[in-house]
């Protein structure tokens, strides 16, 4: 029976491990990119708009604007009252949200399929005619200040990520995080906000993705009705993000109300579309995915100097960073953590990784990829991501093959190339 079952285990599932996302892409005369993916598993549709604008499009003296703008987009437009976007969508049982990153801002809602027209109408109305008033601006500015307090200033270790960004990318548009500097928001005049909308919230800077149960012809007509009359905006410029890797190690300490020391190592890696991005992502998984991973085995289970560890590669449009971190247990110190983190990093650089570790990482990539495709939101977000930041939505269908090509030698090579001790940013977060 055991053997039979074992064989059963090698049965290939009736469902292949592949994206297989059939989609169509259109470019409207006004520059709007449109991606349609039909999926009729449930009578719902997901409507998402990506604007190709994020915190890296801000100027160093006016940070936080892209994110504040995300809030302003719910404050009403010509035909939609303040916060009525929520009322419309939630009133039909839908869900919605928006997020701001360094390269893009996205807005999305899932609604029953019969409300596709309404969702498109809502998105088009705020693209066309957002109401940027002083009253809304002031109100959302104070909401954003509380957001910053809650998520960063008042949260333990809350400042680590923005500090690493500044250490690695200071002097470039990646040197600050989307939440921004509250003093900049206080100083921002209303017309700066209005100008932001005029420049970036235009069809030729937007990608509309519709996924779910819809009729193709009807969807195209609705899209044209709602977005078609909008004029093309000015061509959108992209900031220069040329990053000069520092020739020396940079170190910083933050003393704050935290219970234990934590140590963060940051490295320059590569942009999203670069060839080494996948190998760096696999390296991060080898270091930290699961209890048998390098960092967890060494520091959480081995020496037990860390209560938690992490490693990840953040690939952005024009730059990337690789982060390794650990938070101490009671009797450990920042210096000890740093030494052990370097031990794990140096070991990979010197001795490479085993094939089995790479296979485990790839099995994880497959698993998390198929789970992300269980939701229309996951599919829509991936399509928009590859379209906007890599110029090719079709990457969703080749991604797993690209990952399959990563070898142990690649992982060793990227560790040697990018995890450079003498050019790293080293941050110690200390209890004070």
């Amino acid at each position: 029976m055991f053997d039979e079952l074992r064989q059963g285990g090698e049965r290939s599932s009736s469902v292949p491990i592949t994206a297989g996302i059939d989609f169509e892409r259109f470019t409207h005369a006004n520059g709007l990119e449109i991606i349609l993916h039909r999926d009729c598993r449930a009578p719902i549709v997901h409507v998402m708009v990506w604007y190709h604008v994020g915190s890296k499009d801000e100027t160093p003296d006016r940070t936080g604007l892209a994110h504040l703008f995300e809030h302003m987009m719910f404050q009403g437009s010509q035909n939609v009252g303040k916060t009525q976007h929520f009322t419309y969508v939630q009133g039909v049982g839908g869900s919605l949200n928006a997020t701001t990153g360094q390269d893009r801002t996205n807005y999305f809602q899932t609604v029953p399929r019969e409300y596709l027209g309404m969702a498109l109408w809502l998105e088009a109305d705020r693209m066309r005619s957002l109401k940027v008033t002083m009253e809304n601006f002031e109100n959302q500015r104070s909401v954003v200040k509380e957001e910053r307090r809650q998520r960063y200033d008042n949260a333990p270790y809350g400042l680590w990520y923005m500090t690493l960004l500044e250490m690695l990318f200071g002097g470039t548009p990646y040197g600050w995080s989307p939440i921004g500097d509250m003093a900049h928001l206080d100083a921002a005049p209303l017309d700066a906000i209005q100008e932001f909308h005029r420049l970036y919230y235009v069809p030729n800077n937007a990608t509309l993705v519709v996924c779910g149960d819809f009729d193709r012809e009807e969807a195209l007509s609705l899209i044209d009705e709602q977005f078609g009359g909008m004029p093309k905006g000015l061509p959108v410029g992209r900031p220069s993000c040329a990053v000069e890797a520092p020739g020396v190690q940079r170190r910083r300490e933050i003393t704050a109300s935290v219970p234990f020391p934590a140590v963060y190592l940051g490295f320059h890696s590569v942009p999203i579309a670069a060839g080494d991005a996948h190998a760096l992502n696999v390296l991060a998984l080898v270091l930290n995915r699961g209890r048998s991973s390098r960092l967890q085995r060494a520091m959480v289970y081995g020496t037990q100097t860390a209560q938690s560890v992490a490693a990840f590669n953040v690939d952005m449009e024009s730059a990337g960073l690789f982060i390794v971190l650990a938070t101490a247990t009671e009797d450990s110190t920042a210096d000890r953590l740093e030494e052990e983190l370097w031990g794990v990093v140096e070991d990979v650089r010197a001795n490479g990784v085993r094939e089995r570790e790479v296979e485990a990482a790839l099995n994880h990539v497959r698993t998390s990829f198929v789970t992300s495709l269980c939701r229309l939101h996951g599919i829509a977000d991936a399509l928009a991501y590859y379209q906007v930041l890599c110029g090719d939505a079709g990457r969703i269908n080749t991604l797993l093959d690209e990952f399959n090509a990563v070898t142990a030698a690649d992982v060793e090579r990227v560790a040697r190339t990018y995890l450079l001790r003498d050019r790293a940013a080293v941050l110690h977060y200390l209890p004070g």
Binding site: V15, A155, E225, G228, P259, F260, L362
Partner: protein, 470 residues
């Protein structure tokens, strides 16, 4: 590489743009009826129930083993259920912690265990093709954990560190003290992760005892979702779990503490805090209570979604917060209705005043028909939208099994919501949302906020372990 029809074209249809009326949204099409997905209910040869949500859209399976005993069975060892379940993965069958981890990680699977108030769950997520291998590992973890002494020590050290870490978060401090105020030393009064003091007392013996008592065939059920075929899947489970036996432990009596009906204000001092994290509420009801559906309806309107009264007030009107919400924590036994919000230190008293006036309003005036329609549509619609993935459906099915709800509960749910009237909601609000019977816990800088808070009543100040300041 798979080919796909990628077409690039330009839409050139011309519409008479001027004639489009943009003042209202396009008329919706024919309403689609989303019914709660079907699920199968099978039984293993030893009587263990297995709930199966079959869905082949992705080659993935999630499987939960749920034991009907959680932190409320910790007894004198607060945190025991969570501690013991964490250790299930630290050695089982013939494998030590690292060997187990390596096999699970190789499959790209997740296998973890954690405790809730009423239950302990071992969860597996795996590609369908690796299910048999993963099930073998899961069976070892569930049936044959070894609780090695050195792993008990490691887990203790890590858990205590994690507790200290949590205590640096004001929202956590407020929640812990809120629970303490409501339940005292009763079964729901302590945190699932215990206290430093209790964690220091837990030994390998307690873990073995917890496992032997609660991880028995008569006390568990399975919920599976995804790419499985019921017949084949039940055979697999029977192979791994069919010989398991043991009767469910005696249920533990649940009594609510007396003297919890008067309004109280408690400040958990966090010197230098730039925000105050608040919890305001009282004990409400258990999941099976007939008032549950009307209560979540009035709660949603009050603080359960973005468009709620308190979020509109505290965030959109006053800009005091990034977000305000309320919730009903309905469990096997009565859980709490509570409001959760973080506000700037300077506006702490003003925000609490707004919360109390919103509560007064909801218990004195019936909600409008418009608000009620909106919230009913939201609840019915969002429940339907939340059945998009097999895993989401499984979490509803899990609630059916855990709280002994009828199998057709979520099929009937939309009609039950639609039947609720405004007068009924007013009665429910008066029963569960009266501010005069609530405790308000505020984690923040006592030296700045306590004085102003006294206008709502006497303020008790405690430290981050709940001990009164002298």
């Amino acid at each position: 590489m798979r080919s796909h029809p990628l077409r690039t074209s330009t839409i050139n249809k011309s519409f008479p743009v001027q004639s489009i009326d943009r003042s209202t949204p396009p008329k919706p099409g024919k309403p689609s009826l989303i019914t709660f997905p079907a699920f199968a209910r099978e039984v293993l040869k030893n009587g263990i129930p297995v709930y199966i949500v079959e869905n082949h859209s992705q080659p993935y399976v999630s499987l939960q083993l749920v034991a009907r005993s959680g932190a409320s069975r910790d007894g004198e060892f607060a945190g025991l259920a969570e501690f013991a379940s964490n250790l299930l993965l630290s050695g089982a069958g013939g494998r030590n912690a690292q060997q187990l981890a390596e096999e699970i990680d190789y499959l790209g699977a997740t296998l973890d265990a954690s405790a809730g108030r009423d239950e302990t769950t071992v969860g597996l997520g795996v590609l369908a093709t690796f299910l048999p291998q993963a099930l073998e590992l899961m069976a070892d973890v569930v049936l044959r954990p070894t609780f090695p002494a050195d792993e008990v020590q490691r887990e203790r050290k890590q858990s205590i560190a994690a507790l200290k870490q949590n205590r640096s978060d004001p929202a956590y401090l407020a929640s812990v003290q809120f629970r303490r105020e409501l339940y005292g030393s009763g079964p729901y009064g302590t945190e699932v992760d215990g206290t430093e003091e209790s964690l220091r007392r837990i030994t390998r013996d307690e873990c073995l005892r917890f496992h032997a008592t609660h991880f028995v065939a008569g006390n568990v059920f399975f919920v599976a979702a995804g790419d499985v075929v019921p017949g084949e899947f039940v055979r697999l489970l029977n192979h791994s779990f069919g010989e398991w036996n043991g009767e469910a432990p005696q249920p533990r009596a649940f009594e609510l503490p007396a003297g919890r009906e008067s309004k109280r204000l408690v400040v958990v001092d966090r010197p230098g805090s730039v925000q105050s994290a608040m919890r305001v509420g009282s004990i409400a009801l258990e999941r099976r209570h007939p008032d549950y559906i009307p209560l979540i309806t009035i709660n949603t309107l009050f603080g359960g979604y973005f468009n709620s009264r308190i979020n509109n007030n505290l965030r959109e009107r006053n800009g005091y917060t990034y977000g305000a919400r309320s919730g009903v924590d309905a469990l096997k036994n009565p859980g709490a209705f509570s409001i959760a919000v973080s506000v700037g230190t300077a506006v702490t008293a003003a925000a609490l005043g707004e919360i109390f006036s919103e509560l007064e309003a909801i218990i004195h005036e019936a909600v409008t028909e418009e608000e009620l329609t909106m919230v009913k549509n939201f609840i019915v619609g969002s429940q339907a939208l939340q059945t998009e993935t097999p895993g989401q459906v499984a979490s509803f099915v899990r609630a059916i099994a855990l709280y002994d709800l009828p199998d057709d509960y979520y099929r009937r749910f939309p009609d039950m919501v639609r039947a609720i009237g405004r007068e009924e909601l007013l009665t429910i609000a008066r029963r569960y949302m009266n501010p005069d019977h609530m405790v308000a816990v505020i984690a923040g800088d006592a030296s700045v906020i306590s004085g102003e808070l006294e206008r709502f009543g006497p303020v008790r100040v405690v430290n981050d372990r709940g001990i009164a300041r002298t």
